[in-house]
Symmetry: C2
Subunit: 144 residues, 2 copies
DNA sequence: TATTGTTATACTCTATAACTATA
DNA sequence: TATAGTTATAGAGTATAACAATA
């Protein structure tokens, strides 16, 4: 038990550092975290309703209206009327938006790769080995 | 080489998830990331100059003036005149601020501990084993 | 003249409350 | 009446430019 308590504390410290790291990695297009997350989701899951996006991103409905308005102004997403329910709005990512997301993803991956290359092979192996476990850690949050 | 390129991409994916995770963990006091980081730094390294804080946090000098003004208004930091250079301002954390930082830290650690306990022992071990390496990864960024 | 910090101004991001249109 | 979305308004958080005070 004491070992486990300590690992939560240790992990907290490390994650704080990782958040700092991510925040500072070069990222094209200067998107906010929520904007990037919305674009990523639209790429992954296809066009979605505004309300659905707001709920999934943990943002208010007006907040999502405004975020989508900015993204639309910047040519990254497109709004189309929902076919069946005339109240609804479908948001979909444009080609420009998709390219931007991909470019950012590659940039971050390359920056991380560069950092990994500075580490000892043992450290690289340890991180590699922990990636599936960390993925499950993240999913444990979503699931529970 | 191909193995390494893939690990950058994998790590990028995992870190995106971890950032989402951290963002959503319960946190008392509703501090912004920069505010939390400034308070943490003041706790760790003691009172600091405004310019020093701005540089370390990657924020403009006016931005730091305004952030410190909000933190002061909320009773979390205190500004004192610098002893030697009368242009300078020293920022230090108050008892209230210190307690808030500590409370948040404990909350996050407990939430993470709870998530860790949902994983297989193997996954927990893999994460535990990678923590020092991840710490060095973060430090590689700062150093390079 | 250079440095430290503040003030003025503007934009993004986000919330809540009040509204409109459709179901 | 309930749901989908928008508009109005306000505050946090950030930037750049212009300024004041001190070195």
């Amino acid at each position: 038990m004491q070992i486990e308590r300590r690992s939560g504390t240790e992990l907290e410290k490390v994650l704080q550092g990782l958040v700092r790291l991510i925040r500072q990695l070069a990222t094209a297009g200067d998107l906010s975290m929520t904007a990037a997350s919305v674009l990523g989701r639209l790429m992954r899951d296809g066009p979605q309703r505004l309300t659905e996006l707001a709920n999934n991103e943990g943002v208010s409905q007006p907040g999502m209206t405004q975020l989508v308005a900015r993204l639309e102004r910047d040519g990254l997403v497109r709004r189309t009327a929902s076919t069946d329910d005339r109240r609804g709005v479908l948001v979909e990512v444009t080609d420009t938006g998709g390219e931007l997301v991909e470019r950012r993803r590659v940039q971050r991956a390359e920056a991380l790769q560069q950092l990994l290359s500075l580490l000892d092979p043992d450290d690289r192996a340890a991180i590699n080995h922990a990636l599936p476990a960390l993925t499950r850690l993240v999913e444990a949050r979503t699931t529970s």
